[in-house]
């Protein structure tokens, strides 16, 4: 029994070592996206939760809003954009002049996941979008 535990511990150590090596390899090949997000002290949920579950919150909120007319702010896409738009670009998908990436687009490109929201939704906060619309001829 003791021997089995020791073996398991060794296996775990080897696996962890391999993971570190792999992770550092990825770090070297693909730089982590740099964001430039000025607003807000903290997000509507904690960061770890949002990293894994933001898409679930958005899909849930989208159906509640479109189908039932519920327009709460916390989990709405427009609210995400209001805080997470870049300081200079005022966008969550545009790349900034300093090389910073849009908050949404940068991370989605990093993990290789498609980002369809902004095919239709505004990627700029309300105020900026309204200004752009008024400039349009």
């Amino acid at each position: 029994m003791r021997r089995a535990t020791a073996l398991a511990r060794a296996a775990l150590l080897i696996a962890a070592g391999a993971a570190v090596v792999l992770a550092s390899g990825i770090e070297a090949r693909v730089p982590r996206p740099a964001h430039d997000t000025p607003k807000g002290e903290r997000c509507v949920e904690n960061t770890e939760f949002m990293r894994r579950n933001h898409m679930k919150l958005l899909v849930h909120q989208r159906d509640r809003t479109v189908r039932e007319g519920v327009r709460t702010k916390a989990h709405s896409l427009a609210n995400c954009v209001d805080c997470h738009a870049g300081a200079t670009t005022r966008s969550v998908i545009a790349r900034g002049p300093d090389g910073s990436e849009g908050f949404c687009a940068g991370c989605h490109a990093y993990v290789g996941v498609t980002l369809d929201c902004f095919e239709c939704h505004a990627a700029t906060p309300r105020a900026a979008a309204t200004a752009a619309a008024e400039e349009r001829p």
Partner: protein, 247 residues
């Protein structure tokens, strides 16, 4: 609507026209054109008992005015309508009685039917009617088949052919989906009247009245109860939420 120009109709139109002129003169000035004292909380869903509707008073609609169309385009970030493929949520239809020469125009948009054919035919469930009677397209499920456009007897729906630039935050739109008048659902949910209604009042015509048809105390319900109004193509039995006076 524009094709019915036979003699029987001409006489009828003339008669209706006189009635309309009298009714128009007796309308009280300074009345509220919409009342939205519902005060729904953001977390509350659209209420089931409400039936949002609009009354178009064709006798007050000025022939050279397109304030409602301009306001709609600005509110929703629609293109200017110069291209034949541009989406059109509201349009003005001109009627002319050939015998008498009497002409009038009225805006036509999605009529927000109680029994909407677009919802019946939609293969994905993207076309739907909200609890408060507003007919919408859920673009997340719309596959752009355009079956609803064929089914709509009012030709109220448009297909987005071109890529959309700078969509409004409250009005997401994209190429490949069908869309139509939403009765400014994003405004209604925040207790504001549709953009076209506000623009018409600002232009001084007050030809559009918006409100809850089910609330007997609302301006629209009082008007519908007090003078002759009719939906477009009533024979279809679709029970539209948009009603017309003076056509």
């Amino acid at each position: 609507m524009t094709d019915r120009r036979d003699d029987v109709d001409a006489g009828r139109r003339q008669f209706v026209g006189w009635g309309v002129a009298m009714a128009g003169a007796t309308l009280a000035p300074g009345v509220m054109l919409f009342d939205l004292a519902h005060g729904r909380a953001p977390e509350a869903p659209a209420p089931r008992g409400v039936r949002w509707g609009m009354l178009v008073d064709a006798t007050r609609c000025a022939p050279d005015c397109n304030a409602c169309i301009v306001a709609c385009a600005k509110e929703h970030g629609l293109p200017d309508g110069k291209r034949s493929t541009d989406a059109q949520w509201i349009r003005k239809v001109e009627l002319k009685d050939l015998r008498s020469g009497r002409a009038l125009g009225a805006p036509v948009m999605c009529q927000h039917c109680a029994k909407p054919p677009c919802v019946d035919v939609c293969p994905t469930g993207a076309s739907f009617k909200r609890a408060d009677g507003i007919v919408l397209v859920d673009r997340h499920t719309c596959i752009g088949c355009r079956y609803c456009m064929l089914a709509c007897p009012y030709q109220a729906r448009s297909f987005v052919h071109e890529p959309v630039v700078n969509p409004q935050p409250d009005v997401p739109r994209g190429k490949g989906c069908v869309e139509s008048c939403t009765l400014c659902v994003h405004r209604i949910d925040r207790d504001r009247a549709p953009a076209c209604v506000e623009a018409c009042a600002a232009a001084g015509h007050r030809a559009l009245v918006f409100g809850d048809l089910n609330d007997p105390g609302s301006e629209i319900a009082k008007r519908v109860a007090s003078y002759a109004t009719a939906p477009l193509r009533p024979g279809l039995g679709l029970d539209p939420g948009v009603r017309y006076h003076g056509i």
